[in-house]
């Protein structure tokens, strides 16, 4: 891997921005160049939210991109907006819950993870974004899970460190449950 540009998009409140932050932190821990650029503003509060994360072995030039190596999609609006922006040969990961119009691209690899369902089963909806992240890292292991856990520890305030084991379990579960739609 020399460079991986990821768009993570969904509803505000799904943990889109924090998922990107944890990913960026994991990259930092592995001494990669990273950038994290959110669509900011009122969008954060309830509307759609998205963040561009770039991990690279070389200096990152533009933090703002039009095409991505990977799109992690968590709602219909984001699928509609970003499916076309995945480069040919790239990856699309999405949670089918709430998706009525499915992706149609055939020149990219598409994966699903029933993250909301799994999170509900785990009785922890807050683990939702970690399940998605685990699914993504299973199919594109750009950083190690240990680095993600270290990143999580760094970005979580100490009073929330008791939640670390639950997050680890969610990461692993996401990796186990990711399914490929492509043949």
């Amino acid at each position: 891997m020399t460079k991986e540009a990821i768009i993570i998009a969904g509803f505000g409140g799904q943990g889109v921005l924090s998922m990107g932050k944890i990913l960026a932190y994991a990259g930092l821990i592995e001494a990669k160049n990273v950038s994290w650029f959110p669509a900011y503003g009122p969008e954060q509060r309830g509307g759609t939210a998205n963040v561009t994360v770039i991990l690279s072995d070389s200096r990152i030039s533009s933090p703002v991109l039009n095409t991505f190596d990977t799109a992690i999609i968590l709602n219909q609006q984001s699928l509609d907006k970003f499916e076309s922006k995945v480069r040919p040969g790239g990856i699309l990961v999405y949670d089918p819950q709430g998706i009525s119009r499915k992706p149609t691209r055939t020149d990219i690899t598409i994966y699903t993870v029933n993250a909301m369902e799994i999170a509900t089963e785990m009785d922890n909806v807050k683990a939702f974004n970690m399940i998605v992240l685990g699914a993504y890292l299973k199919v594109q292991p750009i950083v190690r899970l240990e680095s993600v856990m270290t990143g999580l520890k760094k970005s979580l305030p100490e009073r929330h460190h008791k939640l670390l084991p639950m997050n680890q379990a969610a990461l692993i579960k996401g990796g186990e449950m990711v399914e490929s739609l492509s043949v």
């Binding site: 930092l28 650029f37 959110p38 900011y40 533009s62 933090p63 991109l65």
Partner: protein, 358 residues
């Protein structure tokens, strides 16, 4: 103490850097997209550690005047805002320049005019480098294009401002303010002591010891002859800054047939475009002014002899473009590619724009 590598937003980085460089005070008013600066300061509570004062003012008008007050006593003080708030500060900035006060200002630009948009923009270039307030004055203007430069320019900005007694503006934008990158935070520098301030700022109004004439920090002088002299002395300092403090970065300029000129976040996008164009065999270079005033006119004039054309890329309608055209003085054509309204161009769009001028 060792340098620390952390992942920070540009806005957060400003706050950390302010505390670490020994700033005495921050005064501000919330406005998107830079509110994290004051939020981070309030979270870090520097008054418990370094003694730095942090205060949320009732308006940008008040915050810039608080900065005036703090600076008048020789303290290292700063404020930050975004475009509409900086418009409100113009009175205080003009008064500060008229009183020759050192201070650090930060504008995390958003689209205008008016309430405009909260999305990134570079449309306050004119306001900043041409003097947004009244009177003949300049602001030393630093344009960061990375979160690391948000950190580095805090200390540099204070240093330049105190050296030349000219307010320094960090002219950032919503991209640099909101994005996170790994940054190296410098070690803590102690705040200056009263003795150091007295030595460094003999003009400061911080209590008149017996035997010293009273210090009056003012921009007022009703005698036209004296006022002209005051202005001439100031202009002399401006010329010194222009001669000594120009900063810029060159990226693949040496053999370039075409030159893109861009600052701040636009320069990041252009760097991708240059890489892309080079891979297509087109020899393009990027010149990134770091100081927007003083402007790197000389180096642009030099490249005007070598390249076929130049193109400025800005998040505005073509503001820095005018300074590039002044610098090259008609020797080459200077095209402009700009986006407004909070749109950040993609590298592909810049690539296409340049190719349309080949």
């Amino acid at each position: 103490m060792k340098n620390e590598l952390v992942l920070l937003k540009g806005n957060e980085a400003i706050a950390h850097a302010a505390i670490r460089c020994g700033a005495d005070g921050y005064f501000g008013y919330p406005i998107t997209p830079q509110s994290e600066i004051m939020e981070t300061l309030m979270e870090l509570r520097p008054w418990d550690t370094t003694g730095m004062v942090v205060l949320q003012a009732e308006s940008e008008v008040a915050s810039i005047n608080m900065v005036f007050g703090g600076a008048a006593t020789g303290k290292k003080v700063m404020t930050s805002s975004s475009s509409p708030g900086v418009s409100l500060m113009q009175e205080g900035i003009s008064f500060s320049c008229g009183a020759d006060l050192p201070m650090l200002l930060v504008n995390v630009m958003r689209g205008g005019p008016g309430l405009g948009t909260i999305q990134p923009s570079q449309a306050d270039y004119f306001q900043t480098v041409k003097g947004g307030g009244h009177g003949d004055y300049k602001l030393i203007t630093l344009a960061p294009s990375s979160v690391q430069e948000m950190v580095d320019f805090v200390d540099l900005g204070f240093e330049l401002s105190f050296k030349y007694l000219i307010p320094c503006m960090i002219l950032a934008d919503g991209v640099i303010g909101q994005m996170m990158e790994p940054v190296t935070l410098p070690p803590y520098k102690p705040r200056r002591t009263a003795e150091q301030i007295a030595a460094e700022c003999p003009w400061a109004a911080n209590g008149k010891p017996a035997g010293r004439y009273r210090n009056v920090v003012t921009s007022l002088e009703l005698d036209p002859a004296k006022m002209e002299k005051k202005n001439e002395v100031r202009q002399e300092r401006f010329r010194l800054v222009e001669a000594t403090e120009v900063r810029y970065e060159e990226f693949l300029c040496e053999d370039a047939d075409y030159l893109i000129v861009a600052f701040g976040s636009a320069a990041r996008v252009c760097q991708s475009a240059v890489e892309d164009l080079r891979s297509q065999g087109i020899k393009v270079g990027l010149l990134r002014p770091i100081t927007l005033w003083p402007f790197p006119s000389k180096v642009l004039s030099k490249y005007a002899e070598k390249v076929k054309c130049m193109m400025t890329v800005e998040l505005n309608a073509g503001q820095m473009n005018e300074d590039v055209r002044l610098a090259v003085n008609g020797k080459v054509h200077v095209y402009h590619y700009g986006r407004m309204g909070g749109i950040v161009p993609t590298p592909e769009e810049v690539t296409e724009a340049l190719k349309s001028h080949l």
